[in-house]
Symmetry: C2
Subunit: 198 residues, 2 copies
């Protein structure tokens, strides 16, 4: 199996949620794995001077229409969460903590966080909400809550975010396939072409 696809995202990004509908199946079709890499996109936005999509005049209105219609096309449940966007520190830290123990479980956790937040509008800002999601995957809430306070876990997310920015990640979702980078959920056809060796 060739090197994995890297899938960088912010848990607060609706287009990343839309990308979760297709990325693993697309990779599997081409006998690849996908490494999921949550990051704090706000740190990149500070560097580029960009703002969250929905805060930009005109672009914001477009996004508010575009995301639900695309979710519908992809058969993904979608609601605009009351608190949007949010600083997804808790789920991002929990992801990396889980990933060091069990990468498959970490991905299931990430999908569950996305579905809870964008599919059902559940607040994902608090450690308790994140621990609750993890508990449905068999992780005792007390363990998740402890991990979220662990300095090594905090440092890991910081290091992953810094590394993503150093690699050129400025938006979410952002993919790397064999050294080629693709920004945006609408670039999955290009990811597919790259996987096909075109």
């Amino acid at each position: 199996m060739s090197s994995p696809i890297e899938f960088y995202f912010d848990f607060s990004s609706p287009y990343a949620y839309l990308a979760t509908a297709g990325i693993d199946a697309l990779a599997a079709k081409h006998h690849r794995n996908v490494t999921w890499k949550p990051m704090m996109l706000g740190a990149a936005l500070k560097l580029t001077g960009n703002r969250p999509l929905v805060d930009v005049p005109m672009k914001g209105e477009y996004t508010r229409h575009d995301v639900p219609r695309t979710a519908k096309h992809l058969n993904l449940p979608f609601v605009w969460p009351e608190k949007f966007p949010y600083a997804a520190i808790a789920p991002s830290r929990a992801f990396y903590w889980l990933a060091t123990r069990d990468e498959t479980k970490a991905k299931l956790f990430a999908r569950a966080v996305f579905t809870a937040y964008f599919g059902h509008g559940r607040d994902m800002t608090t450690p308790e909400a994140v621990a609750d999601v993890a508990s449905h995957l068999g992780v005792p809430p007390a363990e998740t809550l402890a991990a979220l306070q662990d300095q090594a876990v905090k440092d890991r997310l910081k290091a992953e975010t810094d590394a993503a920015i150093a690699k050129g990640v400025f938006g979410s979702p952002f993919f790397f396939v064999d050294g080629e980078s693709f920004w945006g959920q609408d670039r999955l056809p290009d990811v597919a072409r790259q996987l096909g060796g075109a």
Copy 2:
């Protein structure tokens, strides 16, 4: 035949150039026409607070790599023009002047301007360069040069740009299909789906 697709663009937009490779053929497949609508995107960028893509840190480097690789995939000639981006006032004015006389010729002119600029790196800022492109379509240069000074022609571009912004156009290319809007060359698959009545 149903109502035409509206294709808004700035002549200085490389992604608009990439979109010209496919939009008319896609429309024809669905028995639609395409109305080409050049505009001065700078006026919209002022409202959104956005900057030209290549001026944005990180996003700029991505774009400089992404445009040539996509052009290659689409079999379009591409070079980065020395003067990029540019204020495409002259070709935009000439387009609307031509379109009132002959819409087909205006589209051929638009394609020729894009190819001269992004395909061969020719400077398209001057009235003389624009008149030269039009001359290859049988338009006497003196007529084009006179039109570019015509206040009614100047007013037309201003009115078209204002109307585009009022409609919500904040980027280039930007498409409207039966009331649905799609931003970006990478959204042509969505335009196709909309045309298919999905």
